[in-house]
Amino acid sequence: MTQARPGRLEKLPRSMLPKGRAFRQGPTALILLLPSLVVVFGIVLYPLLRTLYTSLFDVNSAFPGSYPFVGLGNYLEALERAEFWAAMLRTAYFTLSTTVLEVVLGILLGLLLNAEFRGRWLLRSIVILPWALPTVVNGAMWRWILNPSYGALNALLTQLHIIPEYRSWLGTPWMALNMVVIADVWKMTPLAAFFILAALQTIPRDLYEAAWVDGAGRLRTFFSITLPLLTPTILIILVLRTMEAFKVFDIIYVMTRGGPADGTQTIAYYTYVEAFSNQLFGYGAALAYVIALFILFFAIIYMRLLRRGEVEY
């Protein structure tokens, strides 16, 4: 015996619907949806397709006009350039290090915020502040902190006798890249922590009680109960953060402008420089598509992982 499912109007036989209404609803709906379709197509699809179209031409000016068709030439050029691969490698390092640090610190912070202690409400509200700051403000703030002659970091470290003299933090490529990583981690860890906190609050207490009765210690409880139950949330954080980190632009624009010696030039920044500073819009559009493809690739992998995670429950 199949049971009739409630709430599914469209499954009802056509003859049971009021006649005139069914006839008119289609066109009316279409008319009513038209404005939103215009918005969706105008704002999402048109730029997307337009960028794809641009990426096939050697466009070297912001003005409309006729430019030579180069097919996949712009894409091939990207793959041949050492600059492109260096930017990709830097982006990979930035993505990997920020995401890992943000997840690990986020879990630790989430556990702390979930613990019972006095003034927890205060800590919870303070912790969210870095995330609430606009990225541009965050970048400018870290520039000040890291300033070689009057920055807070140099003052702190010399007064604690950790470093003997003031030093330059954004003046060498490798150091600068790591400083940008730190600034990003500082800002985005609270987001991860709040995801984790939300997930922790859904774990039933009786699971922990049962574990304690069985004699499991704190670490064992964490690795056997907490962590496995956090996995879906961690995956969501990973998805969000890798995609965001891969596209990182604003914090770099404010802190280092890609320098020194291109040491902080990520793929999104490289795209910007080629498109707007060098006016190679065709090449820039191709680079933008390469970024989009990479993110799509991540998205597919993560979707699979997430779906598998769901099955286990």
Binding site: P6, G7, L32, L33, L34, P35, S36, V38, V39, G42, I43, N60, S61, A62, F63, P64, P148, S149, Y150, E165, R167, S168, W169, L170, G171, T172, P173, A176, T256, R257, G258, G259, P260, A261, D262, Y272, V273, F276, S277, N278, Q279
Partner: protein, 430 residues
């Protein structure tokens, strides 16, 4: 039932939201279609300027107010952005025609003119006017014999030094050669007068190319040879970079130089943490202003130090141009004429010197900057241009990166400049 009602409710709500969004979107589209259609020489102008160096924001606002008083039918909206963002802002705004007048650096007219982003104003700018202007300034807006704007800021990087610090290190006369600068710096360092006697604007930005160009000229180098091939990787160009690297290796240059711009240099010397620097005209007044500087009264200005080949200063002039998308070019031209006029420039000479030759004998100008004007008179006739090519930004970026790699010690100066030359040749070919 209640669940069904709720979901119905939700559907209705979201449909309304859709409609609202749609209406808003259509409204925006309609709005953007409006605008334009003003009569000649009146209406609203949007003008783009930069925040730092030369005239201050307050100066520009005051000049503009004066203009509006004289031209009540023209309304000027001012926008200020950091120099580092100026080029990209002009490019991004060009197709939309956002700005009527834009401030262009001496290195951009080749690019902007060849891409028709700024208007050829040769016919509005007669020879009789041009002949009254310093030739170094005129080059700012010239490309292939045509003029694409009027020079407004005539500037070069001068040599600044802290008199009392030199005295403390018993350097009796200010050094007038680069070798002398190094010797003085060594003396100051060894006597503990200052940790890093020199600081430079060597961040990855146009600023590092300005300093490099000054040194390249002093050592007799060339950016390109007569056939247009890169030549900075030999002779003076190479010696200039070797000099830069040496000052970092000897720790007489502040290691923070590689992350500093002109404003950072100004702050560091104003705090008494450096003794000798290169910077634009505007720094003289500010470092000697007690509100801005802890070493006010101690900073003096000089001609750039001499290298084996001479004492050129980098041509860092800027001009005002009419953007091609401007709907109001006559009014824009009126505004440019006013802003670049000798009268206005003489009045605001304290932070930026006029483009007009005769201004340098004008009482008002000489009194504004009595120490600077005699030096400027000489230095402004002795300037080196950065390369004039439409792909300038690409070329400059390549040089910035390679020079910084040499300064960071990742490459030898020779290797870095050879790599840069190869890449620049490639860029110019395409």
């Amino acid at each position: 039932m209640s669940a069904g009602e709720r979901s119905n409710e939700r559907r209705k709500l979201s449909r309304r939201e859709f409609l609202e969004l749609g209406a808003a979107g259509t409204g925006l589209l309609l709005l953007s279609g409006c605008g334009g259609g003003q009569s000649a020489g009146s209406g609203t102008l949007n003008a783009l300027f930069m925040k730092q160096a030369a005239y201050s924001e307050t100066d520009v606002k005051n000049m503009t107010e004066q203009f509006q008083k004289q031209n009540p039918d023209i309304n000027v909206n001012l926008t200020f952005v950091a120099y580092e963002a100026l080029h990209d802002k002009i490019v991004a705004a060009a197709p939309a025609g956002t700005y009527d007048t834009v401030l262009v650096d001496v290195v951009w007219p080749a690019e902007f003119a060849s891409k028709k982003m700024i208007v050829d104003i040769t016919d509005r700018f007669p020879e009789s006017e041009r002949s009254k202007i310093f030739s170094g300034a005129l080059k700012t807006t010239e490309y292939e014999g045509r003029y694409y704007g009027v020079p407004w800021i005539l500037d070069t990087k001068y040599f600044y030094y802290n008199k009392s610090m030199l005295g403390e290190a018993s350097v009796n006369s200010p050094p007038d050669t680069w070798d002398g600068v190094v010797e003085a710096a060594r003396a100051m360092k060894s006597k503990g007068v200052v940790e890093y006697p020199l600081v430079w604007s060597w961040a990855q930005a146009e600023a590092i190319i300005c300093d490099y160009a000054t040194l390249l000229g002093a050592y007799g180098g060339q950016f390109f040879d007569e056939r247009g091939k890169p030549a900075f990787n030999t002779g003076g160009g190479l010696q200039a970079l070797e000099f830069m690297r040496m000052t970092l290796d000897e720790k007489i240059s502040n290691p923070a130089s590689t992350e500093s711009l002109e404003e950072d240099v100004r702050r560091i010397i104003s705090q008494g943490e450096a003794a000798m620097v290169l910077n634009w005209t505007y720094m003289f007044s500010l470092t000697n202003d007690p509100n801005e500087s802890q070493v006010a009264g101690q900073i003096d200005i000089a001609h750039t130090p001499k290298g084996p080949a001479g004492t050129p200063g980098v041509n860092g002039s800027m001009g005002m141009a009419i953007a091609n998308g401007s709907q109001n070019q006559d009014a824009a031209w009126k505004y440019i004429q006013f802003m670049t006029s000798q009268k206005i420039q003489n009045q605001y000479a304290e932070l930026s010197l006029p483009i007009w030759k005769s201004s340098y004998d004008d009482k008002q100008v000489v009194q504004a900057l009595p120490q600077v004007v005699p030096i400027a008179k000489e230095q402004l006739n002795d300037m080196i241009l950065r390369p004039v090519v439409p792909q300038y930004n690409d070329v400059s970026h390549t040089l910035q990166v390679e020079i910084q790699q040499a300064l960071a010690g990742d490459k030898t100066p020779k290797q870095a400049l050879d790599d840069a030359a190869k890449e620049v040749a490639e860029t110019l070919k395409s």
